[in-house]
Symmetry: C2
Subunit: 261 residues, 2 copies
């Protein structure tokens, strides 16, 4: 079922209101001591805020959209086996290590796909109070400001963003990508990295990610004409982890060529 433009705008405005509330609660929670735990290893952090945010978002989604299936990070979503119908992706705090240690460079991310088609994505840069949002039907905005597609620069002309851990352990040919770029940076979180590519501050970004890490970024990047695929050039599997590559079209070709060689 295809949504009409005004329905999509209505969903966008609704989620923007949720994000305003989430931002207020997240900033308030940062004034108190955080409860920090670990998941798969000592570097995989989770806090009381991740959990509280996810509960709140999922509750709002279920109240708003009776057909919602939810794929989310902290375990309050559904066990989703296909992309039929309304599938929402939720990352309640993206970049939890940055959230805990840097107190910046983290995000709250939500995305909506219908029958496997990207409809809307939201990346809230909490500290800078900027939501990057939109989709193919309405375009991409930074708060109220419409974004134009970034320049199509090559890898050698720009900065590439890479997963620090994978670069450090020599995985996925990231060292070759870093050497071929004008420069590389390690940000430590998906949302802030997607934002830089969407704004044209970086020509590309690659990391191994789960669906809630890339679902919103993919909607926004594709809407702006950027290339999104896995590191072999294949479409992303929306229900498992992928080695994601988002880049300008030229940098995307440069990186795929490096990866194959």
């Amino acid at each position: 079922m295809t949504l009409r433009r005004f329905e999509i705008q209505d969903i966008d405005q609704t989620v923007l209101l949720w994000l305003e509330e989430l931002r207020t609660k997240t900033i308030a929670a940062m004034q108190d001591e955080l409860t920090v735990g670990t998941k798969s290893d000592v570097r995989d952090l989770v806090t009381n805020v991740d959990r509280a945010n996810e509960k709140l978002i999922n509750q709002k989604i279920r109240a708003y959209d009776s057909e919602a299936h939810i794929v989310s990070e902290e375990g309050f979503g559904d066990q989703q086996r296909d992309m039929k119908g309304h599938v929402w992706f939720v990352d309640p705090i993206d970049g939890t290590m940055n959230f805990v240690k840097e107190r910046e460079e983290f995000a709250i991310m939500i995305a909506l796909y219908i029958d496997n088609q990207p409809v809307l994505g939201w990346i809230l840069d909490v500290v800078n109070n900027t939501v990057y949002h939109g989709g193919p039907e309405i375009g991409v905005f930074a708060n109220q400001l419409r974004l134009t597609p970034p320049m199509d620069e090559s890898l050698a002309q720009g900065i590439v963003l890479l997963s620090g851990a994978r670069l450090l352990y020599g995985m996925f040919g990231y060292d070759h990508i870093a050497k071929a770029a004008l420069g590389y940076r390690v940000i430590g979180a998906a949302g802030p990295s997607f934002i830089r590519v969407i704004r044209g501050q970086a020509v590309g970004y690659s990391s191994k990610m789960m669906p809630w890490d890339f679902a919103a970024g993919q909607v926004l990047a594709k809407t702006l004409g950027l290339s999104v695929s896995d590191i072999d050039g294949q479409p992303l599997d929306m229900l498992s982890s992928n080695i994601v590559l988002v880049a300008t079209n030229r940098a995307h070709r440069d990186i795929l060529a490096l990866h194959k060689s």
Copy 2:
């Protein structure tokens, strides 16, 4: 000659006014197309703004302090052979690649040393409109807000910031430092990296730097009780390049131990 406290406060206020003017001019110049050239290699960028800022700062220093010797990046300073008297350090745009490509994560940095003693340092985060400034006599401030010393966390408890190029080419044992830390980030500029250590967002930072890259950061970090040395634990040579290490006392010990092993 030792300056009195009120004289130091007067110098601080004077330079803060210069930085206000420099910020306005830099933001204005960013609206026009930048003239970008290269220096030692294709990744060593310089722009019209670097040169204009340095000329303006050096002019102001010479008009204000008749005893000034100036050590600055773009060639408008003096050929300085010792640290006697009033030595000013000037980095007119620190992080020129970030300035050109990211349009954030760059700084304007100034420092004053007298008879080899750190007196005052200023790091202006241009985009966020925050000046980190002060010295041993007056303390350290973010604009008007007095900063307290960051927690003394170990390397394993925190994020370490490293020079991307040196890490990529396996230099200075940076891979061991990155692996021992909770996480690492690559920011691509000295000023923004020093700011993160001073604010307690990172437990340490290391890169090969010229004096104008570390002079201001050293004043502020030492004033806050952080450790600043070269990677062998020796005091920095203020008139040549150094592999600089700034860190909490615990992370400093952790990194020196790794470096020696």
